[in-house]
């Protein structure tokens, strides 16, 4: 019997088969996430701690003036919500990429890599699957935040989705790129200290950049160059049904560059990793 997909049929894959491969990877990743309750809860607890405790404490200290995309004064917890959404994606991206690098020679990744599909397709699909998991986390967070009076326009929930896809891909690819290249960053605490914290704090996630500029012009420029700032702003504008074109361009370009770099650096066959084993 010559069924679809058996050895005889595969000379070249059809676009439909590429789609089957992609959706299979996404499905598996989502199933795993749903079944791992601890992971699900810990992913939710982190941004909620920031929202319930950090933002509540600072809302009296920090007022945020009217800046786009907001057309009114906003409370501090409303201001930092896009930053926390980006943080969810940052953690998720780093964590899942680290797992991919760390586990590349154990069963799960080898099963993936021995697939006859091209490696770039497998890795992109895997990153997209991780991104979709992070999007599930983000919407869970937004549901809870809604009861905390963070209520963006309903349409904003939909316009947010494409922004989350691009940001998630960028952060996941970045995680894969740096943990493939920098051996010291193969564990999570290294990534936490040298990647997550600097990216998160030197960005517009916690404070508007005009305030940063008042205190330190240098830091302001660093924040401007930080792709995480643009991820946050892309999310912030999308949540209010707007597009920040600069941020969209920066995030898209960074995603493309990081992804290409990650596919090259990760590929064990190209020697980067194989050499390190020695």
């Amino acid at each position: 019997m010559r069924g679809n997909g058996t050895a005889e049929a595969i000379a070249n894959f059809t676009p439909a088969q590429y789609w089957i491969c992609l959706s299979g990877i996404v499905r598996r990743e989502s199933l795993r996430f749903i079944h791992q309750r601890e992971r699900f809860f810990s992913a939710l607890v982190r941004p909620l701690v920031w929202l319930f405790i950090f933002a509540a404490g600072f809302r009296q200290v920090l007022g945020v003036s009217i800046i786009p995309p907001y057309d009114t004064y906003v409370l501090y917890d409303v201001y930092i919500t896009p930053g926390l959404i980006a943080m969810i994606q940052l953690f998720n991206g780093m964590q899942s990429s680290l797992t991919m690098v760390y586990d590349r020679e154990t069963g799960g990744m080898r099963t993936l890599l021995v697939s006859p599909f091209p490696r770039w397709w497998l890795l992109t699909s895997k990153l997209l699957a991780g991104t979709i998991v992070s999007i599930l986390q983000v919407y869970c967070y937004l549901v809870i935040a809604w009861f905390w009076d963070i209520q963006p326009p309903i349409v904003g929930y939909f316009t947010l989705a494409p922004a989350l896809v691009i940001c998630g891909m960028m952060l996941g690819a970045l995680g894969m790129l740096i943990s493939s290249i920098v051996k010291q960053l193969e564990n999570f605490s290294g990534v936490m200290n040298f990647v997550i914290f600097p990216m998160f704090f030197a960005s517009s996630a916690l404070y508007p950049l005009w305030r940063v500029k008042e205190s330190s012009p240098l830091l302001y420029y660093i924040c401007q160059l930080n792709p995480f700032t643009h991820a946050t702003e892309l999310i912030r504008f999308a949540l209010y049904e707007q597009v920040s074109w600069i941020s969209l361009s920066v995030v898209t370009c960074c995603a493309a560059v990081f992804l290409s770099g990650a596919v090259i650096a990760y590929d064990p066959a190209r020697g980067l990793l194989a050499r390190r084993r020695g």
Partner: protein, 256 residues
């Protein structure tokens, strides 16, 4: 037995492959041949280079020198054609414990471009052969070690490969489960006409009709049918032949 004189296209043809991790040479000019539908045991102690050979054959590492062909398709140049004919059972556990057996197998099918509906049909077939048909919806975590191995073997055969690579598939199993797995695989392969390269350090897994390749410190010391190897070493049992080959290699190394 060399591929050059084989009548049909060999299932696996490894020619002059060397590989090193930094300064350490893991494989030294390895050539070996697996005939279609044969059961070939890759026999070697730990550190012989078996896993490295598998990593190269499955395209995990690129092949720096020499070439590897699966049914005539070069792994480096035609990975798609080569890998689609290959099923692999890795040494490390490669199933997701959190999701069901069926979900695991459907995922594997997707990695080979097989649609979900067809994958469910194929899954039923392979699980029936494995005797686990009624447990398709249970989580993998509920299975015993031997059952997990069976599911991994079922999974490796799901996309109907013509060659199966198994890297120490009985590692970590008790004596009975080991014998069961070995019988199970031999039976399946005969039924389906699939060839196998079975890597192990356990000599008692070799049957009299098998082909063997003896790998030691990255070099092939002997290959051919069990009878060929016995004649070449002038021994009467395969474990004695294996010990003789290793001793000779060690002596030669010490002398050089």
């Amino acid at each position: 037995m060399f591929c050059a004189v084989a009548a049909s296209t060999p299932a696996l043809d490894i020619a002059n492959v060397s590989y090193s991790y930094g300064a350490r040479l893991a494989l030294d000019d390895v050539s070996l041949c697996v005939s279609p539908s044969s059961f070939t045991v890759l026999l070697g102690l730990n550190g012989a280079g078996k896993s490295t050979l598998f990593s190269l054959t499955t395209r995990l590492y690129s092949i720096p020198s020499g070439r590897i062909r699966i049914f005539g398709h070069d792994v480096a140049r035609e990975p798609r054609a080569a890998l689609s004919r290959l099923g692999v059972v890795f040494q490390s556990r490669a199933l997701d414990a959190d999701i069901s057996i069926q979900q695991n197998l459907v995922y594997h099918a997707a990695l080979h471009g097989i649609s979900r509906s067809r994958a469910i049909v194929l899954t039923e077939q392979v699980l029936r052969q494995t005797g686990l048909a009624d447990r398709a919806h249970e989580k993998v975590g509920s299975l015993s070690g031997g059952q997990m191995r069976r599911v991994e073997i079922a999974r490796a055969l799901l996309h109907r490969p013509k060659l199966l690579l198994l890297d120490e598939p009985t590692a970590g199993l008790d004596v009975k489960a080991r014998a069961d797995i070995l019988d199970h695989v031999r039976r399946l392969l005969i039924e389906q006409g699939v060839g196998a390269l079975w890597a192990t350090h356990l000599i008692d897994e070799v049957a009299p009709d098998d082909d063997v390749v003896v790998l030691h410190k990255g070099r092939v010391l002997a290959q051919g049918s069990v009878t060929d190897v016995l004649i070449a070493t002038q021994e009467s049992a395969i474990h004695a032949a294996f010990a003789r080959l290793i001793d000779n290699a060690e002596e030669a190394e010490a002398a050089s």
